[in-house]
């Protein structure tokens, strides 16, 4: 082996080891687990296609898939609109701009469990701040987390709030990349503020939009800590997410093989959805 080759292997060895131990091994292990029955205590046993057959007919799993899509259908549009609106606001000359930018980013770095507990208090039916405000303006209080109709939307709103700062940064970077002359040119051509946004700003943020959609889809499918802490999957299992169902099978029922099967199915669903999104949104290469 030539010296150059040897040093090449040596230099990449730490990362290769890391990748093998923490990425490739778990993936392969999960794929193997799909075909095993294992309760963490006794020896694993070969299960053939049992786990896959169970998954196909497991109403609770498909309900969790449905719940997660409900979550995404609220969270994705809300995340896009709030992130873009905040980025546009924070991109303007503004008093205390650095403070506002930091304030909106802060929830991103706070632990999800802490945020969930905090928002449980905000959403509390009798003493929660949100309901107190509603009552003050003469509205009836809402049982945010205990009403099956509002529980998932409430969680989606909270997750959006927690993550918005991250996506704002992506949009802010994109906004700063738009040449000033493009915006001035369209302004001279007679465009109103809305037309400037519609014809220049928004299309030129397409790469950022694709990134935000993809990342928040991947994150959204992994919804877990919020329902785990705030609702335990209820009421009426309406906030049971895919990952929460996976967690329950693995660590409450000790069904590691089935949990791994759910995990592999989740990965496949995410891959398929992101692929469809890319087709729908169009090609970023257009820019």
């Amino acid at each position: 082996m030539r010296a150059e080759e040897r040093s090449g292997w040596l230099l990449s060895a730490p990362y290769v080891a890391f990748l093998l131990a923490f990425a490739l091994y778990p993936v392969v292990f999960a794929l193997v687990l799909v075909f095993l029955r294992w309760d963490l205590v006794t020896e694993p046993a070969f299960a053939g296609g049992d786990n896959l057959r169970l998954l196909a007919h497991d109403g609770r799993f498909w309900q969790a898939v449905g719940n997660t899509f409900v979550f995404l259908s609220i969270h994705l549009p809300l995340q896009l609109v709030t992130a873009l609106a905040l980025a546009l606001a924070l991109n303007r000359p503004l008093a205390l701009r650095a403070f506002w930018r930091a304030a909106f980013f802060l929830p991103v770095v706070i632990s999800g469990a802490v945020v969930a507990i905090l928002w449980s208090a905000l959403y509390a039916t009798d003493v929660g701040l949100i309901n107190r405000l509603l009552v003050r303006v003469g509205l009836a209080p809402v049982a945010w987390l205990t009403n099956p109709a509002t529980a998932m939307p409430a969680i989606a709103a909270m997750v959006t709030w927690k993550n918005v700062g991250f996506y704002v940064i992506i949009y802010l970077a994109g906004l700063q990349y738009i040449p000033r002359s493009c915006l001035e040119a369209i302004e001279l051509e007679g465009a109103t503020a809305w037309q400037r946004f519609r014809h220049v700003t928004l299309p030129m943020l397409l790469p950022q939009t694709i990134l935000v959609v993809t990342l928040s889809t991947i994150n959204g499918f992994q919804l877990f800590i919020e329902p785990y802490v705030m609702t335990g999957g209820g009421p009426l299992r309406r906030t049971y997410s895919i990952v929460l169902y996976l967690y329950t099978n693995a660590f409450s029922y000790q069904k590691m093989g089935y949990a791994a099967t759910i995990g592999v199915a989740l990965a496949a669903i995410i891959g398929a959805v992101v692929l469809v999104q890319r087709r729908l949104i169009g090609k970023a290469e257009a820019l």
């Binding site: 001035e184 369209i186 001279l188 051509e189 037309q195 820019l287």
Partner: protein, 358 residues
């Protein structure tokens, strides 16, 4: 009625005055060039006219209408930007038509105007391309086409050629000039390049520190710069300057500087003391039997630049470094002593304030 007029327009950013009491009338159909170095305020003046920059004080009129407080979209001006400002996600056709579509111009009229502009600019084959797929010169033409289809009252050019290489710049300069003469639309053109200013402008405004230094036809400014700044800024190669004094000996004025003395046989030289004398490189000549000049300057050659058509000879006359633009066949080498005749009728004298004296 002037097409564009600035009346005592000033612009301040905090304590910094960028444009100071700028007053100017631009005639209908004129191509006026604002030229100056960076920080001269030339771009700010253009942007105030476009409405992209607010005016601190003063009034701007377009066709007699006060537009000082109007937003850019109500001013009916079109601008070509230094980086072109094309919409990267749109094709050339969409770039050209967007402004008209926003104004709800009928489809047929849009097509007619695009066909007209595209024909003049030679963009026919590029209509379906995106800006990224165009060369610098093509982007430049699209930017001009986008301005043309609007049929605005005024064209504004903000250093439109500075992103092009030298050859293309010369070509586009010629195209812009002929296009403007053809369209006869009032045009204000901003540049830091005095060659562009000299070749394009019907009139040029030389700016420094936010103030007009001189306004006039290019050749008039070249021949009679109002002050030392303009003399040094306009003209390549740059004018030579000598610090010295004017003495009157037996009624005949002479210029005296350290290690240097020559007659200035002109009646218009008033009796003055400390002056700066300016002489353009082409006004220093090799004496020939047919052209004997009484005033001469002698020095030692330190650098010879042969440009082909002409030769730039740098020489030291005493402590003064001068440059002469001589014919290409001039036989001089570094270290030679040369004596050159001075076209005294084309000398410039500037007083201590830098104002012209002749």
């Amino acid at each position: 009625m002037p097409s564009v007029s600035f009346e005592h327009v000033s612009k301040r950013f905090g304590d910094t005055t960028v444009v100071d009491d700028f007053t100017l009338d631009v005639a209908d159909g004129e191509l006026l060039v604002l030229v100056g170095g960076s920080g001269s305020g030339k771009s700010t003046i253009l942007r105030m006219l476009a409405g992209l920059e607010t005016v601190t004080s003063g009034t701007i009129r377009i066709d007699g209408r006060d537009v000082t407080a109007l937003p850019p979209r109500d001013r009916d001006v079109a601008m070509v930007f230094q980086d072109y400002g094309l919409y990267p996600h749109m094709t050339v056709r969409e770039n050209l038509s967007l402004g008209l579509r926003l104004k709800k111009v009928p489809r047929q009229e849009i097509d007619r105007r695009i066909a007209w502009a595209v024909g003049i600019l030679g963009l026919e084959s590029l209509l379906d391309r995106k800006p990224k797929q165009l060369s610098g010169g093509q982007r430049q033409r699209v930017a001009m086409g986008r301005a043309m289809v609007r049929e605005p009252k005024v064209f504004l050019f903000d250093e439109p050629l500075s992103n092009l290489d030298a050859g293309l710049r010369a070509q586009m300069r010629i195209e812009i000039g002929s296009l403007q003469r053809r369209l006869k639309t009032t045009t204000i053109y901003v540049t830091h390049d005095q060659v562009e200013a000299m070749t394009l402008g019907d009139r040029i405004v030389v700016l420094a520190d936010g103030r007009i230094q001189q306004l006039g036809r290019p050749i008039d400014i070249y021949r009679a710069p109002a002050n030392r700044f303009v003399a040094g800024f306009i003209g390549t190669p740059r004018m030579n300057f000598l610090e010295g004094r004017i003495h009157h000996e037996d009624g005949a004025p002479a210029f005296v500087a350290e290690g240097l003395r020559f007659d200035v046989p002109r009646e218009d030289v008033a009796s003055v003391g400390a002056v700066t004398l300016g002489v353009r490189p082409e006004d220093l000549l090799i004496p020939s039997p047919s052209d004997q000049r009484p005033s001469t300057v002698t020095g030692r050659v330190v650098l010879v630049e042969r440009l082909g058509g002409i030769t730039h000879v740098h020489f030291d006359a005493g402590p003064h470094r001068l440059m002469a633009a001589l014919p290409n066949d001039t036989a001089v080498t570094v270290g030679d002593d040369i004596t050159l005749g001075i076209r005294t009728e084309r000398l410039h004298l500037f007083d201590a304030d830098g104002r012209s004296h002749l």
